[in-house]
Symmetry: C2
Subunit: 353 residues, 2 copies
Amino acid sequence: MSKYWSETVKRIEPYVPGEQPRDRKYIKLNTNENPYPPSPNAIEAIKRSADETLRLYPDPECDDLREAIACDNGLRKEQVFVGNGSDEVLAFAFIAFFDRGREIVFPDITYTFYPVYAKLFNIKYRLLPLDPEFNIPYEGFFRENGGVIFPNPNAPTSKVLPLAAIEKVLQNNPDSVVIIDEAYIDFGGETSTGFIGRYPNLLIIRTLSKSHSLAGLRVGFALGNEELIEGLNRVKNSINSYTLDRIALAGAAAAITDRDYFLETRAKVIRTREYVVEKLNRMGFSVLDSKANFVFITHPGIPAELLFKKLRERGILVRYFAKPRIDNYLRVSIGSDEDMNCFLDALGEIIKT
Amino acid sequence: MSKYWSETVKRIEPYVPGEQPRDRKYIKLNTNENPYPPSPNAIEAIKRSADETLRLYPDPECDDLREAIACDNGLRKEQVFVGNGSDEVLAFAFIAFFDRGREIVFPDITYTFYPVYAKLFNIKYRLLPLDPEFNIPYEGFFRENGGVIFPNPNAPTSKVLPLAAIEKVLQNNPDSVVIIDEAYIDFGGETSTGFIGRYPNLLIIRTLSKSHSLAGLRVGFALGNEELIEGLNRVKNSINSYTLDRIALAGAAAAITDRDYFLETRAKVIRTREYVVEKLNRMGFSVLDSKANFVFITHPGIPAELLFKKLRERGILVRYFAKPRIDNYLRVSIGSDEDMNCFLDALGEIIKT
């Protein structure tokens, strides 16, 4: 604590990302990265854009990338906002659409960055407890609120909310913005993009980090009504006119455009997930129904924290949250078949001993 | 205006960056970009880092880049913070060190992003009017305040404040943070870095956009006491754990390390500036004493706005600010010798007619 810190800095509780250790080689199943490399077109585009034009500022409007995303989602460029990872887009959305005076709502078990943003921007929130099966009891979002936000699929539970439920949430919140964080939507959930034309209160946030294997490039985006996108632009232009560098703009556009590669790697991740789920079930684990690139698992006999430690000793990183209700679960990212077999073998050994 | 916008978004007045038109080829002297390409080592490092590791998140600590910057400035890594351009670092600093309740101070003529941040974060400010020669009357910073911020050299005036004056500002503000925005320091001013050990209230902010020819890569940094750097980290980790992508981290570290190239291109820019100043003086312009990579000029006979328009018609972009006190000035970036000769020739023609 420093006497020079603002009241805000004294108050906030920063987010702690999954560890990225450099002390030895690990099998990394802790930050939901994609096991497959990005599209070769993206890598090629990045190399091509590494030239003397780097002396010039990037396009502040990010037109080419927004056009590529719009085209990929059947929208217009004016319905697309891009930013430095979906985390930055989420932060901007909290500033743009949530007010200090009005309480927002999100699930009690969800992406742990939401309460961090709320504390940073001094926005009150109430938690909507998941039901005993870890489903979102979405009727809870119908009560008066200053905004709604939840991931679909939810994280770290991996469970999805069907479109019919989402439409009811939109219908019951005509005066507040409903943010659907679709970071993991590409792995089996149904996107809410089709609702954008009908519901001006809907903002969808996505990322290229997971399904496009570009966690290292920092590109996220939002889809929604023009007025919401304009609100995000006003915030961005009050913080940093150029949040995406020339290289990221070029690489992201190329990745989005390479739809075949995306479909192929996504299918591989889903296939591996189904295989892993089956094996885990046979080993006695409970596995929540996952539509994400990770699974959320618990074992009736061995505490999750112990499993976490024993896996780490064997060079395998998974994510453990020491939080109420989920402190006996592990979140395990879906890696390559090879990595997942190592993980399953290690689990098998740990359970036996 | 949308009913979904927060009070904040309704209130803010976003920054307007210099235009980046794509309708035709311009000689761009409007955004203080460097006319020379970035270090070949930086381009090489970027190409080398465009590989399958992009599927992984970047190092959230940015250790290698911070180490390179620390080494280049005779500091320790713990005294260095890095971010997505100096604009992002400035925004984080406003959150980290300035409070709603206490009025901060900055010059009336200065970087126009400061009042934008202040409005966004609801921080009161008072303006310190520059003297008639556009110097900062720095004793004005000695009065009770909640923080001080100014660029050195100042923008768009290009004038520098000597170190002796800066030390007095630091001494007279033991309880508030003094932010010195050194975006242009490499072009002839003296850095305040040497004060960091003695003054825990000093935060210096720099960018690779200008002197390292990397406007397109979006890398800025802050130098200061560990406690201030920790404050910035707390803010960053409450917004976006990874603001610099893998490519930017690699390219920036390589650029910082290539000190010879930096010294060479910097010397070229300064040489061209001195040449341009001499020519402008001969043409009857008043030119403020510049220690930046731009000059701030006015002509006794022809209004700046008219010059701006006539230059634009000739395919030459400079920056004109329609603001009190400086609405008869132009800010002109120092380009290549060739570009500056085109600019001088065009000015000559305009003045004659």
